[in-house]
């Protein structure tokens, strides 16, 4: 007996994931004898950089149809590019955590290995070409994240965050697995392309569509699409800010990477009401995310709801997955990773060691007391709000153009109308920083690694705003994305 399609391992495709795995193991062992958490942080950073080098090398090798395990683990452009985004987000989170963990008394050395494993899961999700690989990736990504969100031990909010995230996350996983079972039952295959091919003209589409709906709901939990978003604000508020930096970027990229691929391959073969349902979900996400964010006083919670809102914009791209939406979403995710991680990085430096004190008042007068931080924050806020010459604007234009191309003009109008709302809560931060006097002394906590992270985010956000062409061209792969077929 042989193993058809299982033994073909392209190590170029696997290299980023394997380096993450090895680094996680090394960092774990290293952490046993490390005095504080900075040693493992350095190991983790080196590992992420190594994985990044492998990913870049593969991305520019021009070998877009590379895959391992017979199309079950893909190395096409979106997979590799989103892997890079995940690695970027992880690197940012490591830099932000570097000093902050010790400052907050959370310096257990297992932090970084867990983070790397979670990133590994996200990478697997982004590369998954079949549903089983997807489930594996999802679990690898989620389990460490549950532990990380409860990282601040003996803090009720953090514990609550971990518990809530675990329970709801397990619920989401269960839905995904059940949906996978139904899809398999209807098509007899796990590989996306084969599922879609088997469903063409089949008479089991109702069963398959139910499966697709469950898969959508399961991944919707991870991506924080309304109405599956309720965990997000509580978890984001309770979990340590450094962990939220990681989660809000990496987990979102992982979930959307998987959703994009499924939306481009499997969904078109299903009954059309699923796409209608998705459109309703996206519209709901846009409205709920933006309007709830508008009502928040705490910046962390505001950013939590804003990340729900951004899930809505990415959802627009899902609907347009076969009209340039994939490249648009990949671009959007790249910028989102930078600007969101940057905003959280600033937040860690402004709030207390216990992560409390994220109220807007705390930002009053920051423009005078800490001008550098305030300027960076202003750029991130403007970019999140979609002001031109910053990456966020380019991302939004790409997403809206794809949405209109796909024929969802009214959703684009809704997206843009809610963007107006979004600009208000983002601009409010700037107004507090610059147009008000500070009421109390700001923190003098400084962290060079965090500053590096902020600088990287700043340069990236501006660069993708001023010169977006090269990255978008690289991402615009059209049919090559469907290497799953």
């Amino acid at each position: 007996m042989s193993f058809p399609g299982v033994l073909d391992i392209d190590w170029n495709v696997m290299a980023p994931a394997v380096s993450l795995l090895i680094t996680a193991i090394v960092a774990l062992v290293f952490g046993l004898s490390a005095r504080d958490s900075r040693g493992p942080a350095a190991v983790a950073l080196i590992g992420v950089l190594t994985a990044g080098i492998f990913a870049v090398a593969h991305l520019f090798s021009g070998n877009e149809s590379a895959a391992s395990f017979g199309l079950r683990y893909l190395g096409d452009v979106p997979a590799t590019a989103l892997t890079l985004v995940i690695l970027l987000g992880t690197a940012m989170a490591i830099l932000v955590s570097w000093d902050q963990l010790e400052r907050g008394g959370m310096g257990q050395p297992e932090y970084y290995p867990l983070m790397l494993l979670s990133a590994l899961g996200a990478v697997v999700m982004a590369s998954a070409g079949d549903l089983i690989t997807l489930i594996l990736g999802l679990e690898i990504m989620s389990l460490p994240a549950y532990a990380l969100s409860a990282w601040r031990t003996r803090d009720r909010q953090s514990e609550e965050a971990g518990m809530k995230y675990f329970l709801l996350g397990a619920f989401g996983s269960a839905m995904l697995i059940y949906g996978t079972a139904l899809l398999y039952g209807a098509s007899g295959s796990f590989v996306y392309g084969a599922v879609a091919a088997a469903l063409q003209g089949g008479n089991l589409t109702l069963l398959a569509t139910a499966g697709g709906a469950l898969v959508l709901a399961g991944l919707g939990f991870k991506a924080a699409l309304a109405p599956f978003h309720q965990w997000a604000p509580d978890v984001y508020t309770g979990a340590p800010t450094v962990v939220v930096t990681f989660m809000s970027v990496v987990i979102k990229v992982g979930a959307f990477a998987a959703l994009l691929r499924i939306a481009a391959t499997v969904f078109p073969a299903l009954q059309p009401w699923l796409l209608t349902a998705l459109a309703v979900i996206v519209a709901l996400t846009l409205v709920v995310g933006n309007f709830t964010a508008l009502m928040q006083r705490g910046l962390k919670r505001m950013l939590a709801y804003s990340s729900v809102a951004h899930a809505g914009y990415l959802g627009l791209a899902l609907l347009a997955a076969n009209h340039g939406g994939v490249a648009a979403a990949a671009f959007y995710l790249s910028v989102y990773a930078l600007m969101n991680a940057g905003a959280f990085a600033v937040l860690t430096l402004v709030t207390d060691a216990s992560d409390h004190g994220d109220d807007l008042e705390r930002f009053a007068g920051l423009g005078r007391t800490r001008p550098g931080l305030a300027a960076a924050m202003a750029v991130f806020m403007l970019s999140l709000g979609g002001i031109p010459l910053l990456g966020g604007f380019t991302g939004k234009v790409l997403v809206f153009q794809a949405t209109i191309d796909a024929g969802h003009v009214w959703l684009a109008v809704l997206g843009i109308a809610t963007s107006v709302v979004a600009l208000f809560y983002y601009f409010r931060v700037i107004a507090y920083m610059y147009f008000r006097e500070s009421s109390h002394a700001p923190h003098t906590f400084r962290s060079t690694p965090a500053r590096v992270a902020i600088a990287v985010a700043l340069v990236g956000t501006v660069l993708l705003g001023i010169l977006p062409g090269w990255w978008h061209t690289l991402l615009s792969v059209g049919p090559r994305f469907l290497a799953g077929y």
Binding site: S2, F3, L7, L28, V29, L32
Partner: protein, 115 residues
Amino acid sequence: MYLEVLMMFLAAGLIAAAALVVGGLLGPKKPGEVKLSAYESGVPAVGSARERFPVHFYLVAMVFIIFDLETAFFYPLAVKFQAAPQFLFANAVIFVAILAVGYVYLLRKGVLNWK
């Protein structure tokens, strides 16, 4: 073609239900204090079961699960080993190596160190 499976489920359910019902109807009932009290492995229960256990038990249970899973994976591997010997051998080695790291980690953390 799955009818047999369904029939098996039904049969199993019926037998279990029958055992309970018939036993309850026909069995002699002579309750006494000793008979009604809870017991553990034949030892009379002491105190409440809602007690706090040292977390150590939990950790040891985790160690057990690690090796339990290892065994569970090795059975199918052994059965199909001839299909691709080098590949599966490499697989097994990597698998054991990762488990070994976990084991070393647990040892260093003092999981098996009872004080």
